[in-house]
């Protein structure tokens, strides 16, 4: 797990999803595109608002790649502070919350896995 420091620039960027992606937030490719946009702004220290006005359709592959990997790079406190989500429909909100829950589990499992690997590697060095 890699935590990126955010030095606040006090700038706030609004990403309007309907114009940047479309009214359908479905695919892995669109999710990756949004992830890179968010990540670029966050490492510059900008706050980001994701405005989902007019977006009708959602599927988990989109959020898995747009939002999921952010939980590897940033803490929950950082994300709650620097990344705001607005005008997301009930359906979108339901899927996003599940994706975040899943990502938190995924990255905490890999942290656990890495810790175990490290212990095994350290113990094997003595043999």
């Amino acid at each position: 797990m890699r935590i990126v420091e955010i030095c606040s620039s006090e700038d706030c960027v609004i990403i309007r999803i309907k114009s940047e992606i479309s009214e359908r937030c479905i695919t892995v490719d669109d999710g990756e595109k949004l992830y890179h946009q968010i990540h670029l702004k966050l490492i510059k220290g900008d706050s980001v608002i994701l405005d989902f006005s007019g977006v009708r359709l959602f599927a988990s592959p989109f959020f898995n790649t747009a939002i999921g990997p952010l939980l590897k790079d940033y803490t929950n406190v950082q994300l709650n502070h620097f990344l705001k989500i607005e005008n997301l429909s009930l359906n979108g909100s339901h899927i996003l919350r599940r994706v975040i829950e899943n990502a938190q589990k995924y990255y905490s499992d890999s942290r656990y896995k890495n810790a175990v690997d490290k212990v095994i590697a350290e113990n094997s060095e003595g043999y």
């Binding site: 592959p61 898995n64 429909s89 339901h94 599940r98 994706v99 899943n102 990255y107």
Partner: protein, 293 residues
């Protein structure tokens, strides 16, 4: 020459058994006739399945004869209407009716599939549901569609067909791929991860429906699609049948079961059924409004 006699096809488990047996027995034959004399009725699952079988035979057989003239007139009209006959090279232009068009996708086209669901499956003249519910249902079905592409590796594509039953106010959609099957995909992940490969097909299928389980290890979290769909079907009185490899999943009446299935099917056939009544649906309740992270 081998003759495939297509039976009457409903969408009960015994009908899927017949379809899978036909596929297993005939899909590699080189000289084939398809005869419909015994077929007095064919549901959407039969249309999608036959679409896959005929596509496969058109690619691989040396000689294929489709005896359209053996079809019952009403069945033939239905197959012309939903576009199956013209897609298979027969005569007759499709028109709009109660059958939702037959469709084959060889690559992922989520926008076009969404339009298909919107225009033909959740047609405004048929069902009276709010735009929110319509979007919610479409989002869930799109999860299925994309899953079929992401995990199956189907060499001939993904086949879909649907039906609207006004008398019982039901919508049904079948999506079939002829890839490696969900348990095969799960097992591939297990082998890749050096885990124990000794997991039954029905258990592997159950795992695929669990939250966060993905058969496709990547550098980002995934594996929610089937779990979200299951949750939606369980909450909303839908029915979901999945036939894949040697397993059958049935999600209905708030219950789920994963059982051993025979004959084995090297692919995945999914039948999903919704009742078109807005009052029956739960869209997940109010959002709690808490911070997301």
């Amino acid at each position: 020459m081998d003759i495939i006699r297509i039976p009457k096809i409903n969408d009960e488990p015994c009908d899927f058994q017949q379809l899978i047996s036909i596929w297993n027995h005939y899909h590699d034959k080189k000289d084939i006739e398809i005869n419909f004399s015994d077929c007095k009725f064919i549901r959407q699952n039969g249309v999608a399945f036959l679409g896959g079988l005929i596509t496969r035979l058109q690619k691989n057989a040396d000689h294929l004869s489709i005896r359209w003239e053996t079809l019952d007139q009403a069945v033939y009209a239905n197959l012309v209407q939903n576009g199956f006959v013209s897609a298979m090279g027969g005569d007759g232009e499709p028109w709009e009716g109660n059958s939702i068009p037959y469709r084959r996708d060889t690559e992922i086209k989520s926008d076009s599939f969404e339009q298909y669901l919107q225009d033909y499956w959740l047609k405004r003249e048929w069902i009276h549901i709010s735009p929110d519910l319509s979007d919610f249902i479409i989002s869930n079905v799109l999860e299925l569609y994309m899953n079929a592409f992401e995990h199956s590796g189907s060499p001939i594509g993904v086949f879909s067909c649907g039906q609207h039953y006004p008398s019982c106010n039901e919508l049904i959609l079948t999506i079939i791929d002829f890839g490696i099957g969900i348990p095969g995909s799960v097992r591939g992940y297990y082998v890749g991860e050096c885990h124990n490969n000794d997991v039954s097909d029905e258990r592997a299928l159950e795992m695929a429906f669990e939250s966060g389980f993905s058969s496709n290890p990547e550098s980002y979290p995934r594996g929610l699609g089937l779990n979200l769909l299951k949750e939606f079907v369980l909450k909303n009185n839908g029915t979901l049948d999945v036939y894949t490899n040697k397993a059958h999943a049935l999600i209905r009446n708030g219950c789920e079961s994963y059982e051993k299935w025979s004959p084995s099917f090297d692919g995945t056939a999914i039948n999903i059924r919704f009742v078109c009544n807005e009052k029956l649906y739960v869209l997940g309740g109010e959002d709690c409004g808490d911070m997301f992270f």
